[in-house]
Symmetry: D2
Subunit: 140 residues, 4 copies
């Protein structure tokens, strides 16, 4: 089951062509990723990082940029997980705008790491329950 | 009368010392500035820029950085105007965190410009009414 | 034949884990992409955008993040093209650090657009000559 | 005696008005600030941070934005110090473009801190010699 969040395209995302500069679309995706943890697993990403000392950096990304994002657009993100490995998680992102137009899709493999050493570690059980509820076989 | 908004310190604000990198505090201030227009003047900043072709770039800034912002902190912004000139507006920002600690203050002079030419222009009357309601003599 | 450029990991790339935040790796790639035009085609990217009104936004990206980038590291970028279509160009990026460690690889499909309309257009002949010199069959 | 560096306005600095977005001007200033250490004091800022565990976050900034920065412009930075306190340093920045036009001035007070605790500390003697050579009474 996917989670859904909405954020506006803010001024800082724009480039000289007056559309979102593509590295900032990844940054937007990360903001949604941060929001997902509380809803999926009942723990905020700041707490996961600051207190539990666990993070999920990306190791592989595939993305399609389908339509530009303009200032004031609403980005509606649909986010789900399609693989929960021992140490890795695969996230899927679908971004639409307020008119239902597909903007961006991305599949991102992230690895669970200890934030002090950055070494991979097994995804803890207290996260698995929530993650499995957002596992979907839907293909991006 | 000031307006107030709250936003979290997100991951992308952090630097290698695990606190907000100072240029991104200005970016955060701009996000609050964008939000202010709808509340102060009843028109969103995207509409002001995209439709009315008016923007307010800064020409002078003074800022004090009082305490660091950490991942997951809530930034509570208090924003008011203390001068409405013919073509310029002076904005005041106070940032506190969720513990009431003062983080940042800034006074920013912005100039009303035509977004096509970037030439200064007189602040239109349809903005003045709302702006005057948020005029305060409070000294930063 | 690939082109090669080197840039340091600057402070603004870092995140709270003291390594480069991944959206800023795409931004670094774009900086190298900008540099490539002058060397490949004899025209700077600013001139291409500002004067010739042509740009190359991305439509598809695949990337592998192999090792973290740390403050002060040198990023040595090796960049080549492996497909020149009528309207699209496929770029390949290999990033190593000063110790020869592989950091990042990416394949990025970009489309030639008119910068005013953002509509796709045929890649002009004055760019094809230079681009073809940097065409390589090397597989990423 | 001031130090001088030049950097181009790159694509990522631009906003929807096709000029540099002001928070990124502070980021540009920080890039020049990083470069200054090696030239002023014979130690790179990465080494200062990573090895010596000393950094210089800002606590107060005043800036005037005089003219916009456009894609492809060269920014010529003139940087000097006008106060060396026990624990603080005051930096002055003058930015001109390739046509000699004044773009931006800024005075920034930074505090010497231990990078682990972020507590202020006395500026070490091995930095003072170099800093004093770049002390100037010139008023911004």
């Amino acid at each position: 089951m996917a989670v859904t969040f909405t954020r506006p395209v803010e001024y800082s995302m724009l480039d000289g062509a007056n559309i979102a500069y593509y590295p900032r679309i990844y940054d937007l995706a990360h903001k949604f990723f941060e929001q997902s943890w509380l809803e999926m697993c009942g723990i905020s990403y700041p707490d996961l990082i600051n207190i539990n000392k666990i993070g999920f950096p990306v190791v592989n990304i595939e993305s399609d940029f389908s339509a530009p994002m303009r200032f004031g657009d609403e980005v509606i993100a649909t986010i789900w997980i399609d693989n929960i490995g021992t140490k890795s998680l695969t996230w899927n992102y679908l971004f639409h705008n307020q008119n239902g137009e597909l903007l961006w899709t991305s599949k991102q493999v992230t690895v669970c790491v200890d934030m002090d050493s950055l070494n991979p570690q097994i995804i803890p059980d207290y996260l698995r329950v929530g993650l499995q509820k957002h596992l979907s076989e839907e293909i991006l």
